[in-house]
């Protein structure tokens, strides 16, 4: 049973649909903050803030590795084979990147205010 790219996006849309208003709000707020940070700090300054939030991404990545199975009602003992471990690793990376992207704009803006 193959899924087209359209189909995969449709499934992802249904997955996030209950949280769509919240996700949209976070994205809009972050974009506004990012634009303000870019105006105040310029591109280089804003990108520099990314380094500051890297630890946040790393911590969330580690938490994802540790608690990912638990969040799904399972345990690490349920992981069987490379597929499961790679999936956990990929999910943890995704969570880390997501956290980094969410935290980056406010931190970049705060940096400009403190500068």
């Amino acid at each position: 049973m193959a899924f087209s790219i359209f189909g995969i996006f449709a499934v992802l849309l249904e997955f996030i649909r209950p949280l769509l208003p919240l996700i949209l709000a976070v994205v809009i707020i972050d974009l506004v903050l990012l634009l303000l940070a870019l105006r105040n700090n310029g591109l280089a300054g804003t990108l520099a803030a990314l380094k500051r939030v890297l630890p946040v991404g790393l911590v969330v990545f580690m938490l994802g590795l540790l608690f990912g199975p638990w969040l799904t009602g399972a345990g690490h003992g349920n992981l069987a084979g490379i597929l499961d471990w790679l999936s956990l690793f990929g999910a943890a990376v995704g969570l880390g990147v997501l956290a980094l992207l969410v935290v980056w704009p406010p931190v970049a803006l705060l940096r400009s205010k403190n500068a």
């Binding site: 359209f6 992802l12 849309l13 249904e14 799904t72 069987a80």
Partner: protein, 453 residues
């Protein structure tokens, strides 16, 4: 009926003006563009809709009915599509096993049909009580006669509690009786029974209705998840678990059958072969099984009742049902060609979902595979073209073996494994299929209802 379709084919290509004929012609022209529209990566439906004013009636607003309504609505321009079903509530039935074993709340399986009914589809809030395919009509329980040019039958099935002497749905959640099927209320009351059983212990009987049943993996999952729960409670040694199969097998797919025949004894779940539940005495906590050696009575502290299932009476007693053979004897299922999903005696009638008599299926995954075939072939019939879409029997069962692990079993009419994801072994328990079942399949199901996958 053959003559009628030949005529439609002619009309679809003619310039005859009035009424439906003109629009059937338009349908034919539209069909011509269908091939050009193709099915590219970013779209699941053709870019240009087919013009027609055909009257299409869909009976049943379950998974197959809603998916068909959405697909037909986007494929056809001007068609008068009518959906008939009294139910306002939509149930995500693949989640009932999770409710019955305490992993989901009942509300997670409850939705509303109105969220998925397309705007240009008329919804008659009634039940069909009679199918009259010779007159191209259905009759509702309110007495309304509805004419159609094309009919899509997606009624679902009837869980036949009455086939078990002494059993009724009201008993679920009392006297140690559980049944995962039919609705979240049953599933939740079953969870109360399983929770008590895995805490207090005793004899647990797990049954399976004979013949075609929906989600045939559910009785197995309930047994394995109950065993897993008892392990987690530290009470496993207080439970005597017996799975009663009505046949000599546990699962239709041979590799999975073999796996389960090894897995159940390994987990100390005894198996009684050829034990078909025929009666229950709730007050005495006693069940009666029909076996080759005669009737056998077994006492229980918990019993998971899985009744036989059949087509709803209105369909099963109609000319649309199989008139003889295994599918007639089993459950009066609707007759369809197993590949085209077209009714062999009424070519303007198609069927999909639990109500049809095909060798395997009766899962949401089967619906996902069947509905596009029904829609493609229905549009072909409207245009007088040969039917090209074919259903290969695809069905799927994320067989949960314990909380946190499952096997993603997918197979076809040949009982060959046909994995959608080649990197997920269909022979081995993994965490990833568990996540899919627990987190993602409902999203895929909803996308299917909207006709997007």
């Amino acid at each position: 009926m053959k003559r009628r379709n030949d005529r439609q084919a002619f009309l679809a290509e003619s310039t005859v003006d009035p009424g439906r004929r003109r629009l059937l012609k338009a349908a034919g022209l539209g069909i011509g563009s269908l091939g050009l529209a193709g099915t590219g990566l970013m779209t699941s439906t053709p870019a240009r809709a087919v013009k027609t004013n055909a009257r299409i009636v869909i009976v049943g607003a379950g998974a197959a009915g809603l998916a068909a309504a959405n697909r037909l609505s986007s494929r056809l321009d001007g068609a008068r599509i009518t959906l008939i079903d009294r139910r306002e509530r939509h149930l995500y039935q693949p989640g009932l096993t999770l409710v019955a074993t305490g992993l989901w709340k009942p509300g997670q399986t409850i939705d509303e049909n109105k969220r998925y009914v397309p705007r240009n589809v008329e919804w008659i809030h009634a039940s069909v009580s009679e199918f009259e395919p010779d007159a191209n009509q259905v009759v509702t329980d309110t007495g309304q006669r509805v004419d159609y040019d094309y009919l899509v039958v997606t009624t679902g099935l009837h869980v036949d509690f009455d086939a078990i002497e002494g059993m009724s749905p009201e008993l679920i959640g009392r006297e140690g009786i559980g049944c995962v099927y039919d609705n979240p209320e049953h599933a939740n009351r079953t969870w109360e029974m399983i929770d008590r059983y895995t805490t207090e212990g005793g004899v647990g009987l797990f049954t399976r209705g004979p013949g075609g049943i929906k989600c045939a993996g559910a009785p197995l999952k309930v047994a394995m998840l109950t065993e897993d729960l008892a392990q987690r409670h530290g009470n496993r040694d207080r439970l005597e678990m017996i799975y009663n199969s009505p046949s000599a097998g546990l699962f239709s797919q041979p590799d999975m059958d073999q796996f389960l025949k090894e897995e159940f004894p390994r987990r100390d779940i005894d198996i009684n072969w050829h034990h078909r539940l025929v009666g229950i005495e709730p007050e005495q906590h006693r069940a009666t099984f029909d076996t080759p050696e005669g009737e056998v009575r077994l006492d229980y502290d918990f019993i998971h009742v899985v009744p036989p299932m059949r087509a709803p009476d209105a369909l099963g007693n109609s000319p649309l049902a199989w008139q003889e053979g295994g599918f007639a004897d089993d459950g009066n299922w609707m007759e369809v060609d197993r590949h085209s999903m077209q009714h062999p005696r009424y070519p303007n009638v198609f069927g999909a979902g639990d109500c049809v008599g095909t060798p395997i299926g009766k899962t949401a995954a089967s619906v996902k595979a069947q509905v596009p075939v029904v829609v493609d072939n229905l549009v072909s019939v409207m245009a007088g073209r040969q039917l090209t879409a074919s259903y290969d029997g695809y069905t799927s069962c994320p067989l949960i073996t314990s909380r946190g692990q499952a096997i993603l079993v997918e197979f076809d009419y040949n009982l060959d494994m046909v994995p959608s994801f080649p990197f997920i072994s269909p022979y081995r328990e993994h965490w990833v299929p568990w996540i899919m079942k627990d987190k993602f399949l409902k999203a895929a199901y909803n996308a299917m209802l909207r006709g997007r996958v």
